[in-house]
């Protein structure tokens, strides 16, 4: 019995010794548990940079095609046609043209079950709309409108007391947003747990409705420069 006990202690000590040496060796390789979080952060940065490079490569390809097109323009009529196409493309990108495509419709409204006592959190604020727009852009939205007003590079989405200014138009709740882009990605950006829009619905009990549409039409921005 005593021998069995000694044998157990002996084997356990050997295993323990091996394990301790293993740990020391790994520590010497300068990788520790405390660095894990830092390494993961760096890895995520690498992923972002790799994606950017991919985007830039696509841009390079497009630029080369544009250059070739210019070089191959043979007469004035062809030049004008090419410039017209390029102008239209740039007007679409800048939000000046009406556009259509698949996407989602979002309706955001003030909380409806408040009774007489209404708190700030029961209402839709301009910051809520700004956050939703930001999440949609991150999800690759190609065109966005709020209550028919096209969101452009310089859109004002500002609080005006009981209303929200979008561009130079006053809008009130419910706010209907049309968004063109990959429908499934856009849908996830506003319905997945912990997304800003989902928190408005589940935590603050604001009315949020999201619907996928295969064919949305969004008008162009008609305001001044």
């Amino acid at each position: 019995m005593k021998n069995k006990q000694r044998m157990f202690v002996f084997i356990a000590a050997i295993v323990l010794g091996f394990c301790l040496i293993w740990i020391v060796r790994v520590q010497e390789a300068r990788i520790s548990e405390s660095q894990k979080a830092e390494l993961q952060r760096l890895e995520s940065r690498m992923e972002v940079i790799a994606n950017l490079i991919q985007t830039r490569e696509q841009t390079l390809k497009e630029r080369k095609e544009v250059l070739l097109s210019y070089q191959n323009l043979s007469d004035q009529r062809e030049t004008l046609t090419y410039l017209e196409d390029e102008l239209e493309h740039k007007r679409i990108l800048s939000g000046r043209e009406a556009v259509k495509g698949p996407g989602i419709l979002i309706k955001v409204n003030d909380r409806s079950d408040t009774g007489e006592q209404v708190e700030m959190f029961d209402l839709v604020h301009n910051t809520d709309i700004l956050n939703i727009v930001n999440d949609l852009r991150a999800a690759g939205a190609e065109a966005i409108s709020i209550e028919g007003e096209r969101v452009t590079w310089r859109s004002k989405i500002q609080c005006g007391g009981p209303i929200i200014w979008v561009n130079d138009e006053s809008t009130t709740a419910p706010f209907v947003m049309k968004v063109i882009g990959e429908p499934s990605v856009l849908y996830a950006a506003v319905t997945a747990p912990n997304t800003y829009t989902e928190l408005l619905r589940s935590v603050y009990n604001l009315e949020v409705l999201v619907r996928v549409s295969e064919n949305l039409e969004i008008l162009g921005y008609e305001g001044g420069e």
């Binding site: 006990q5 202690v9 356990a12 740990i23 390789a29 990788i31 548990e33 660095q35 830092e38 390494l39 952060r41 760096l42 940065r45 972002v48 940079i49 790799a50 950017l52 490079i53 985007t55 830039r56 390079l60 497009e62 630029r63 080369k64 250059l67 323009l73 004035q76 030049t79 004008l80 410039l83 017209e84 390029e86 102008l87 740039k90 679409i92 990108l93 800048s94 939000g95 000046r96 009406a98 556009v99 259509k100 495509g101 996407g103 301009n126 910051t127 700004l130 956050n131 930001n134 852009r137 190609e142 969101v151 590079w153 310089r154 859109s155 004002k156 200014w165 063109i180 882009g181 990959e182």
Partner: protein
């Protein structure tokens, strides 16, 4: 009794050591060459990215040169080119020059493991919205042009603008009427007041007679957008 205690202790110690070893093995497997190699890899990628961006600018210049050559003939073609260039300026594809303001937000090291601005990215949306209300004509954040496709996201403990990570100090530059832009931001109880007094960060606004905002390389082509009626 004593024997059981020794055995129990040994088994306990072995379990703890086993878990520790398993977790170390996992780290070693994922990062076989350590932290320094990973940093080097990141630096290589960054250099590659800068090279690509330079190439894009070279191509942009060649493109402009060829486009200018088509300008000489037809008046309609000239108008088209002027409008395209204006739109490209608005889209952020061209450098923008003009007077404006520079807003600097500095985080101190009050919370060494947390970025207050990263936790409050909606404040940046508000700053841009205030600038737009004051008719800003072009905006950038830490050198990244803010366009209709730009997003500001918290990623880990830092902020990404257009997919590029930025940190403190956050410098927002806007072209427009410097007095109007500064007045909109410095309104008592307004956005800069909130950053200083509610977030406890240091903010300054400087009016500049001339500044140049960098251009943004065109993004990937649209996949879903078509011209409407």
């Amino acid at each position: 009794m004593k024997r059981r205690l020794v055995e129990g202790l040994l088994i306990g110690v072995l379990c703890v050591v086993g878990v520790r070893v398993a977790s170390q093995m996992e780290i070693e497997e994922r990062y076989p060459y350590g932290n320094e190699a990973l940093l080097q890899q990141i630096q290589t990628l960054k250099n590659e990215l800068e090279d690509r961006q330079e190439t894009i600018l070279v191509l942009q210049n060649e493109n402009d040169f060829l486009r200018d050559q088509t300008k000489t003939g037809d008046e309609i073609a000239n108008q088209y080119i002027d409008t395209i260039e204006q739109l490209e300026l608005r889209l952020g594809y061209r450098k923008a020059k003009g007077p404006g303001v520079e807003v600097t937000i500095i985080e101190d090291n009050l919370y060494p493991n947390m970025s207050i601005m990263a936790e409050n990215t909606d404040i940046l949306h508000d700053v841009i919205s205030y600038l737009n209300v004051a008719d800003a004509e072009a905006v950038e954040i830490n050198g990244e042009r803010y366009t209709s496709r730009s997003e500001i996201l918290k990623v880990g403990e830092h902020i990404n603008v257009n997919g590029i990570s930025i940190g403190s100090p956050i410098v927002i530059r806007a072209i427009g009427d410097p007095d109007k832009l500064a007045a909109a931001l410095e309104l008592k109880g307004g956005i800069l007041f909130a950053i200083e007094n509610y977030l406890g960060l240091e903010v300054s606004v400087q009016k500049l007679n001339e500044m140049t905002l960098e251009s943004l390389a065109p993004q990937q082509a649209d996949r879903f957008l078509q011209g409407g009626s």
